[in-house]
């Protein structure tokens, strides 16, 4: 008996962490913005994570519940049950996990398992993982498992394929500390090999049942300069995405940066072709991805910029470039003022890659339909974003931010709207001012205007112009209230010149947050009262509760 008691006691001496999140919605019909009241009227998502560590032992789980799921979530999510659980052991050399785990190799071009709850995205792997660190600066990871596809009837449903993967990471200076102490360049290299198995389920074609993706990465750092890149090659992977062609695929990213105190600059390039890599070849959209192919552009935070024309990667192929510059003018100088001024400039473009077909018979039995080359772009534009901002603190209380964005998106390829034709080009201006009334009280406002270029025939493209106003009042550390209105004043259909008002208030105590909002909301990344998250479109009441422990 005492043995049991002492076991319980030693258990109690471990470390518990975790969190709770619950979001409830009561939604109304709103035909003007095509919002429908769900049959249940109320919707609720709830999650609780608990993680336990004691010495080298670790365990964790997540309960999740959709009764039913809130708006914007995949409609097959339902029920209450365990969505994530693992046991493991970790010491200086070895880290073993059995059950569910999240993982990323390099930049994720070959393998990334992660959760983005705001989007309802979770491709966690269920299986076994070992991380082995024989010496400091050198590490090998081995992974074996199946991926989460959905959560149905309170249970995780895995996708069809099995994933096997190996990764090695080597930091030269950390491994050879003594010999290379004075060597001025930091060198880190890595290599990944990922393989998936899925039985051939096609009557007409002989599909490869094992499909590999492999490649290497490198990072060099010399004083203030960094240069890093990764290249991944994928073997023949006929799938629903690529029309069951037998082309190989590739993805490459290169990034060059220079930064010193007060100045940062980076240039990035990406080339990808036929790189959709899933643990089930018959899936599409965001399902069962093994790898991660992020778009190469800035993630904007202002409502109109972030939510109306966001760009997502085209996994079938794209060539992209980005430049980012930030400079802080010193305090006390003529330009810097008493508190310093920051200037940011950012530009990104994305193009369709060239598909060479000369010498290739599209109809032959090889089913290789074109040839793709690294960084071989066409003139067909998918995306362009040029933006700059100036942040200046005028005095102890007043902060001003001025921003301009020029965003061009090819709606025929990266579809963001059913009302738009071809390329949407828009200019957005934002003025933000924040005024600190006293030690705890602060008022902040944003004015945003979006101006969409007309089509060559003189017609208004997409939904036309928009304006947004936001006022937010905060009382540190416990309260906030904000009012936001988006107005689609330039819609070509006068009946659709609609306001999207929304009022939000919240209470925060340490790591507990309660937030209540009412009104219309457009989908997108939404920041209120100090926190950013993705919120789908709706009309009604949203009550959310989060707690960390």
């Amino acid at each position: 008996m005492l043995v049991v008691c002492n076991a319980v006691l030693s258990w109690s001496q471990g470390n518990f962490t975790g969190n709770i999140e619950s979001t409830f919605q009561y939604l109304n019909d709103d035909p003007v913005i095509n919002a429908l009241q769900p049959p249940t009227k109320g919707l609720i998502n709830s999650y609780m994570n608990v993680f336990y560590t004691n010495g080298g032992f670790k365990a964790g789980m997540r309960m999740e519940s959709y009764l039913p799921r809130i708006q914007g979530y995949p409609n097959r999510f339902d029920g209450t049950g365990i969505g994530y659980r693992y046991l493991g052991y970790v010491n200086d050399k070895v880290d073993v996990t059995l059950g569910h785990f999240y993982e990323q190799f390099g930049t994720g071009l070959a393998f990334r398992a992660y959760e983005d709850r705001a989007l309802g995205y979770d491709n966690v792997v269920d299986g076994a993982r070992i991380i082995f660190k024989p010496v400091s600066g050198f590490q090998i990871k081995g992974v074996y498992g199946k991926q989460r596809l959905t959560f149905n009837g309170g249970q995780v449903i895995n996708s069809a394929g099995i994933i096997r993967a190996l990764d090695a990471d080597f930091n030269l200076k950390e491994v050879c500390q003594k010999r290379l102490a004075s060597f001025p360049v930091d060198v880190a290299v890595g290599a990944s090999f990922v393989s998936k198995y899925q039985p051939d389920d096609d009557d007409a074609l002989v599909l490869p049942e094992n499909v590999g993706a492999y490649g290497g990465r490198m990072k060099l750092q010399y004083k203030n300069f960094t240069l890093d890149g990764e290249y991944i090659l994928k073997e023949q992977d006929p799938s629903l995405d690529n029309g069951k062609i037998y082309n190989k695929g590739h993805a490459a990213v290169v990034n060059f940066g220079y930064s010193k105190k007060g100045l940062g600059f980076s240039l990035s390039a990406k080339s990808a072709d036929n790189m959709s890599y899933r643990s089930d070849r018959n899936k599409e959209l965001q399902d069962a991805f093994i790898n991660f192919l992020p778009a190469l552009n800035k993630t904007h935070t202002y409502n109109l910029v972030a939510t109306l024309y966001p760009y997502a990667t085209q996994p079938l192929g794209e060539i992209a470039y980005q430049a980012d510059f930030i400079y802080t003018v010193k305090k006390g100088s003529a330009w810097g003022g008493k508190y310093g001024t920051t200037i940011g400039i950012n530009a990104s473009t994305t193009y369709r890659p060239v598909q060479h077909t000369s010498g290739i018979d599209v109809n032959d039995s090889s089913r290789v339909t074109y040839e793709a080359r690294l960084f071989d772009k066409s003139d067909s534009l998918y995306w362009r974003d040029i933006n700059f901002s100036i942040t200046r603190k005028l005095n102890k209380s007043l902060l001003l931010v001025l921003s301009y964005f020029n965003i061009t998106i090819n709606n025929d390829v990266a579809k963001v709207s059913n009302d738009a034709t071809g390329i949407i080009s828009s200019h957005i201006g934002v003025v933000e001012a924040s005024y600190k009334i006293n030690a705890k009280h602060n008022i902040r406002m944003e004015l945003q205007g979006m101006f969409v270029n007309k089509l060559s025939n003189g017609n208004i493209n997409d939904k036309g112009n928009w304006a947004t106003a936001l006022i937010e009042y905060t009382v540190a550390p416990n309260y906030f209230v904000s009012f936001l209105n988006q107005y689609n004043y330039g819609n070509p259909d006068t009946d659709k010149r609609v306001n999207y008002p929304n009022v939000t208030c919240g209470y925060i105590h340490e790591s507990t947050r309660v937030m209540l909002s009412y009104g219309r909301q457009r989908a997108g990344l939404f920041c209120v009262g100090g926190v950013c998250r993705f919120v789908p479109a709706n009309n009604g009441l949203t009550l959310s509760f989060t707690q960390s422990f």
Partner: protein
Amino acid sequence: MKRLLPLVFIFFHFHFLGQQAFSDTTSGKKVPSVSLKDLNGKTYNTSNLGFSGPVVISFWATWCAPCKKELMAIHEVYEAWQAETGMNLVAVSIDDEKTKRDVITYANGKAWDYTVLLDPNGDFKRSMGVNNVPHTFLLDKHGNIVYTHNNYAPGDEDILFSEIKKLSIE
């Protein structure tokens, strides 16, 4: 009665358990061990960050405006805070690969003196129970979490500083 004794023991053990683990949501809790890299590629173990004084861990992202405001506000007073209390701030970026490359540009462009760690797959974020950013934790010199706050409004930094000062008095 003899038969009851073990039960009494169990009761007291559980009572003790309740007091130990659940009496307070923060005090006595430690930071879980996760391997993260800084902007130079150097590996840190989060359970032993290597500072002698109080440590503030601030979760942020380049796309999170309030997070950046919080770190900017502390940046202005950071030297004074450090001189007075011996504290250090560790800014943990949860930027994923899409925006991770902007972290070094931004942190240096803003002339921050913080230790900036990268958590691109959210391993540390998850193990610390962070729901959304900004989320700030204050650790005493023994590594115990003594204060947390999940938000930023101008003025929050003053409250954080008064919590740090309480530690240096102890």
